[in-house]
Symmetry: C2
Subunit: 341 residues, 2 copies
């Protein structure tokens, strides 16, 4: 049994979507157990309404960090915030992983504060799995931080390469630096310095990649970006996919002939695009903290919440954390050895 | 007759795609005239092969700025570069506008060097028209620069608002700042300072917008970004659209039934997405220089080259330049008046 601590109050449609997500996840994977972290009476009422009272263990937490609060300050002030209580469950071994679809900043702050950082990590990054045409790729930082340095981008490159190996099974992942223009020297000052830093790492660095390379994924398995650009692009790609799907569905209702064709076409399309759906991969993984922490979208549907829970459980079972810690540590040692020669 | 100077050597498929684009543009719009700027013997050979010798006036230019060169340095060194000669034609009134699908940096450097900047402009921006679901929007900077300041983003906001009024006919355009998180205070240091700067401008500033808002365009008519983030997102959105189109076409060939349905569905889809095609809007417009300058994609097809030529001609005929100069100047005066009170 793998137990996942789930933030009852995180997300735009919480707590309902969270409870529904927990039910979907545990139906799909009977070996996964969920602890709901939040106000106990609220959880009981919601479970009761779904005929599922007693289905999940409940852990009390009375506070929530809002999207408009300064995350670090709010987390420090709110000892009983759902994300802090969930992180404590992970720290104390009462849960194998935690999931929140609330404020990314609050989850990050709780994780750093309660679980601590892995060796060699200055600041954790949020790694998303992007469903590219050529197969899934690791994309980081998708928004854990906003300011970056060449050294930080180099850490992201190492952590991202480790995740691609552990989670996607790619032995020697190709790592690209998100920039504008392919040639070395293209991009801003940060990217020019980061290019040199990444080229010195013991990874398969393929150089600069551009925005339009990401949906295809042909050139690389890992994309390294600062958290600001990474968040803008990750959200932009998702927006483009959902906008085009909407446009497509609209076009297929225009005439009776098109509606008839839609009955054949839409299931085929859904099958074709299933592997490119964000639901398929669940939320982002916080890389660099001492615990398995998955961050879902604020707008997560019950299905997305369930995906996050299953990703977290799978990551915990696969030993994602020790394997990433080892890879990072190993890579850091080799980097230092290279730097010393 | 509106005459457009066209860089014969700009673009991955130049010079062939450029000559074909010139032919398409002038067939579509008989009141548009193209001057081909490049090696005269090369232009003559290509035109001859298409049975179009003598169709366009030719202006000799022997040098080209490569994608791997430092644009400013290369433009300064190459007096006979196609982009410099084209800019001189605009400066001297021999062409109403110029178009290049080569290096954006080289076109920018030539325009600033030869044509100069408009009053109040520190650095020009590349404004793209993004075909959002709710209608086209102005998106800048799409990659003219890489470093930005709050003051520069404020200039982009003014220039973008002026372009939305002139080109899209929106009287009071809503201007959004591309950031991560909607709330004031979200984003990096640059965005937090820019928020204050944009809020003080005499424009309809709607606050922060996010990556996923851009494909929908529901909240705003103008999106302000630094050139690095803007370029990454603009390219990312295009990549997503072309990747999903590819996926769709692939899915519609899987079975005979789907192929039959595709015959009905694909034309309907093309009609539905025509207004969201980048071809529809041609290239980006360089805002802030004293001339109409359109920059196409490096990968421009003949049809895209033609769109760029037609956009440039239309912009020249509409008096885009004096109208933007006036709007900018007017807005700047009002801004200064506001700042002085």
């Amino acid at each position: 049994m793998t137990r996942v601590a789930l933030d009852l109050l995180g997300g735009d449609c919480a707590p309902e979507s969270v409870v529904d997500g927990a039910l979907i996840a545990t139906e799909r994977a009977p070996d996964v157990d969920v602890v709901l972290v939040g106000p106990v009476d609220l959880a009981e009422r919601l479970l009761d309404a779904r005929g599922a009272l007693g289905r999940f263990p409940l852990v009390a937490a009375s506070q929530v960090v809002g999207m408009d609060e300064d995350p670090a300050r709010a987390v420090r002030a709110k000892r009983d915030a759902t994300v802090r209580v969930a992180a404590r469950l992970v720290r104390d071994g009462e849960a194998a992983a935690m999931v929140s679809c609330g404020s990314t900043g609050a989850t990050l702050a709780s994780a750093v504060f309660t679980l601590g950082r892995l060796r060699g990590v200055t600041r954790p990054a949020l790694a998303a799995i992007i469903p590219a045409l050529d197969g899934p790729l690791v994309f980081l930082d998708a928004g854990a931080g906003t300011e970056a340095t060449p050294e930080l981008l180099a850490q992201f490159a190492l952590a991202g390469a480790a995740l691609a190996t552990v989670r996607l099974g790619i032995v020697a992942p190709r790592v690209g630096l998100l920039s504008i223009g392919e040639e070395e020297g293209k991009g801003d000052e940060l990217r020019r310095a980061a290019y040199t830093a990444l080229a010195a790492l013991p990874i398969d660095f393929v150089g600069n990649v551009e925005g339009n390379d990401v949906p295809y994924g042909a050139k690389m398995d890992v994309v390294v970006a600062d958290g600001f650009t990474g968040n803008v692009l990750a959200k932009g790609l998702e927006g483009a996919a959902s906008m085009l799907t909407e446009l497509l569905r609209g076009a297929l209702t225009a005439t009776p002939e098109l509606r008839a064709a839609a009955d054949v076409v839409l299931p085929a399309l859904e099958a074709a695009t299933a592997s490119t759906s964000p639901d398929h991969f669940g939320g982002g993984v916080l890389l660099g903290v001492r615990g398995v922490v998955v961050v879902g979208h604020g707008s997560s549907s019950p299905r997305s919440v369930a995906s996050c829970v299953l990703v977290a459980a799978q990551a915990a079972r696969d030993g994602l954390l020790p394997r990433i810690a080892e890879s990072l540590s190993d890579l850091l040692d080799r980097t230092r050895a290279v730097a010393a020669t």
